[in-house]
């Protein structure tokens, strides 16, 4: 009897709720540390990013205007779907170099983080809204509103927990996102897209690209329809580039240094507020 041949997975991009290959046709050969597995990862291009931006902008209005309760349930649903796919993430995380125990921890924490932000999606507005006691006969209130489309460079060293810790607060707050996955640990970022795909997250709300940071960071930070640029890492040159390009259209700059995302202090409603604007409305009181 001949040995059964495995079906290997093709890793593609995640744009507008679909899984296209990169339009550029380029690939990056990814090899695990034991050199037992070779995967071809899409080397995303500027054009892929621009396509993702179109999708993210298109999805932005309706995602923002969904009820907070609905967004909360969708975030919870992502957690549910991740729970059901543990085995797949175990396999990929260990292939990417984690021990079994570490991989288990990372999956647990990623699910918990999604549930944490699911719970915030319909509460941060209450914590950060105010009625302001103005000295005029007016009713005056301030509410947070999503900034719009966030372009993000994901944490490099943790491909699942880091990715989830960035995406969850951004979309819980009603933004849409285009995120560049970890360059060195890309596998479960794309698999996470499959989780999103089955979690009622509308097309375009989350878009995930793979590719080289050094190539794409220029495009992520200079695109004129991006409202906020989020950068994870400590590369001084990259940070300066991001901050300089942000000036082109006054993007909000959000930065996270390299950190251990598993610590509880790295989840916070203040992370949601980083991609929120402040809107104040006045109306006269009278007859």
């Amino acid at each position: 009897m001949s040995k059964r041949i495995d079906i290997q997975k093709t890793y593609k991009l995640f744009i507008d709720g679909k899984f296209p290959r990169t339009e550029s046709g380029r690939y990056i050969k990814w090899v695990d540390s034991k050199e037992s597995t070779i995967v071809n990862i899409c080397r995303g291009s500027r054009k892929d990013f621009r396509n993702a931006m179109v999708a993210a902008r298109k999805a932005s209005g309706s995602w923002e205007n969904r009820t907070a309760y609905n967004r909360a349930q969708i975030l919870y649903r992502i957690g549910e779907m991740l729970e059901g796919r543990r085995d797949q993430f175990m396999a990929e995380l260990t292939l990417q170099g984690l021990s079994k125990k570490q991989a288990e921890n990372e999956i647990d924490q990623s699910i918990d983080r999604l549930i944490y932000y699911a719970g915030w999606a319909d509460k941060y507005q209450q914590v950060f809204s105010r009625v302001n006691p103005v000295s005029l006969p007016y009713f005056n209130f301030t509410v947070p509103e999503p900034t719009g489309v966030v372009a993000a460079i994901a944490p490099e060293d943790t491909s699942l927990l880091g990715l989830v810790s960035i995406i969850a607060p951004v979309i819980a707050g009603g933004n849409t996102i285009v995120i560049l996955a970890s360059e060195s640990h890309p596998l479960c970022s794309i698999t996470f897209a499959e989780v999103l795909h089955t979690s009622d997250v509308p097309a375009g709300v989350v878009n995930i690209l793979t590719g080289y940071r050094s190539e794409l960071i220029e495009h992520f930070s200079s695109h004129m329809d991006v409202n906020a640029i989020l950068y994870c890492g400590d590369d001084t040159e990259h940070k300066t580039l991001v901050e300089t390009n942000a000036a082109l259209n006054v993007k909000r700059v959000i930065q996270f240094p390299k950190q251990n995302w598993s610590q509880n202090q790295h989840q916070s409603p203040y992370h949601i507020m980083k991609s929120q604007e402040t809107k104040t409305t006045w109306h006269p009181i009278g007859v």
Binding site: N132, P133, Y138, N140, E243, V250, T278, K279, H283
Partner: protein, 482 residues
């Protein structure tokens, strides 16, 4: 009964005999008035008659270095060590002293900047002291502003303010910075430095520890030295989007925090079901308040088709009654344009508006011969792509368009790189909530326009800025949360 009565107002000028102005103002550094190292001074003039009011020191790099060093020393040695409640009491003192001298400040503000005394007396100066009073109380209550986090001051704040609301902008910047425990180097605008220098006298009177507030006068170069100084930890800027972008690039990679209040091109939307007479009054407030030198001015008017003729005809009539002239006269509605340069810019836009095909209407008021003046101006027959619809003019010039549906007007309102403010006029509550939600801007006035308060956050979306000033949100630009 229908006989038209022509109302003439007798002149009612505010007296200037009670104000104290020096012939020459020095820099305010380390609690003392010190001459600039270069020995250079520049004139500040009254834009309504072009007469020189005073001379003001021009700070160069070495003066800015001196100011930043004294702010840093004051932060390390005094201000950051002081009990927050004591810090608050100093700020309360400034508020009180300003209230006591409000009349003097109003007159000087009007002389130096050209705005009507009615506005400096009723808006600028009272709001400036209110800002100090409001923020003073926050000094020892910051743990309630940021639940779950500790708010730490940033250090030395470099603050650069514009010429349209000189003292008010100084208070918007100083009050939250001081309340949260920072020390400051403030640079007023070169055409309107006087009330800031008078404020320095009050700060001295209030016995604020030396170096906590330093004021350096000068133009763009002075501001540049401040932005690029390595010991400045935070930049707060109000001014043009162009300079705002320069600042973002200049501080890139430096780790400096920044808040920016930049330009605007606000949509003011009049629906058919609005109270039309009130709306017309609102249009006047939105675009002609402070000669239109307002970043949040309602400079794009959108009128629903069914009432367009009525609104525009009433607007023209109302424009005819606006009194343009001596800013010190208590009856004056529209004062002088702030500077020759600004007048030139406004005139070039008005010329451009006609060249682009717009129909112009200007009120027929006589304009004084001396000084810088511009008649209230509106354009009809313009479209979204016209430059006078897209670009900030910062003068009494309004571009008017019509619309049919809610979705259409929201799309038009948001079709701008700016997002500072907006206005909505309708008597239907549900429409107010829909439109105020959908306009992408930081401050929305419904059935009113151009209202300000220290408790009310003010800030822009998109290219109108980063961060807010006022309210709890305004504190966050001056703290690091740990």
């Amino acid at each position: 009964m229908s006989k038209t009565i022509k109302w003439e107002y007798s002149p009612a000028p505010e007296g200037t005999g009670h104000i104290e102005l020096k012939k020459q103002y020095e820099l305010f550094i380390d609690g003392k008035f010190v001459p600039p190292k270069s020995g250079k001074y520049f004139k500040t003039i009254n834009p309504s008659n072009e007469k020189t009011i005073s001379k003001v020191a021009e700070a160069d790099q070495s003066d800015v270095n001196h100011a930043v060093a004294s702010a840093k020393k004051a932060y390390d040695k005094t201000w950051s060590k002081m009990l927050p409640k004591e810090r608050g009491k100093y700020i309360f003192r400034i508020a009180r002293l300003l209230q006591e001298r409000a009349r003097e400040f109003s007159v000087i503000e009007t002389m130096d900047g050209g705005k009507p005394i009615r506005e400096s007396r009723d808006v600028d100066i009272p709001l400036a002291s209110a800002h100090f009073f409001y923020h003073a109380g926050w000094a020892d209550k910051l743990e309630y502003a940021f639940p779950g986090r500790q708010a730490k001051p940033v250090g030395v704040a470099g603050q650069i303010i514009p010429w349209n609301f000189p003292l008010l902008m100084a208070s918007w910047k100083l009050a939250p910075a001081l309340a949260t425990g920072n020390t400051v180097v403030l640079k007023p605008a070169e055409t309107t430095p006087l009330t800031a220098m008078k404020l320095a006298e009050i700060i001295q009177e209030a016995d604020l520890p030396p170096g906590v507030v330093n004021i350096v006068t000068g133009a763009g170069e002075t501001g540049k030295s401040l932005v690029n100084h390595p010991d400045v930890n935070k930049i707060a800027f109000t001014g043009s989007t162009e300079v705002g972008k320069y600042i973002m690039k200049a501080v890139a990679g430096s780790g400096k925090k920044y808040t920016l209040e930049l330009g605007g091109k606000a949509a003011n939307i009049i629906f058919e079901d609005a109270a039309i007479d009130q709306a017309v009054e609102g249009i006047i407030d939105a675009i002609f308040f402070n000669q239109g030198h307002v970043c949040c001015a309602g400079s794009r008017l959108y009128v629903q088709e069914g009432v367009a003729d009525e609104v525009i005809s009433k607007l023209r009539k109302r424009m005819e009654t606006l009194i343009v002239g001596d800013p010190l006269d208590k009856n004056t509605d529209i004062g002088a344009i702030n500077s020759k340069m600004q007048l030139k810019k406004i005139k070039s836009y008005v010329k451009l508006g006609s060249e682009e095909g717009g129909s112009i209407y200007q009120s027929s008021c006589p304009l004084p011969k001396k000084g810088f003046w511009h008649a209230p101006t509106i354009f009809t027959d313009v479209s979204q792509s016209n430059r006078i619809v897209q670009e900030e003019i910062f003068g009494p010039v309004l571009a008017i368009q019509t619309f049919r549906t809610v979705d259409e007007v929201i799309a038009k309102a948001n079709n701008s790189p700016y997002g500072l403010s907006g206005g909505v006029w309708t008597d239907k509550g549900s429409k107010i909530f829909k439109v105020t939600r959908d306009i992408r801007a930081g401050v929305i006035w419904a059935n009113t326009f151009n209202k300000f308060d220290p408790a009310s956050p003010f800030g822009g979306y998109k290219e109108s800025g980063v961060g807010s000033e006022g309210g709890i949100e305004g504190l966050s630009g001056y703290v690091n949360l740990v």
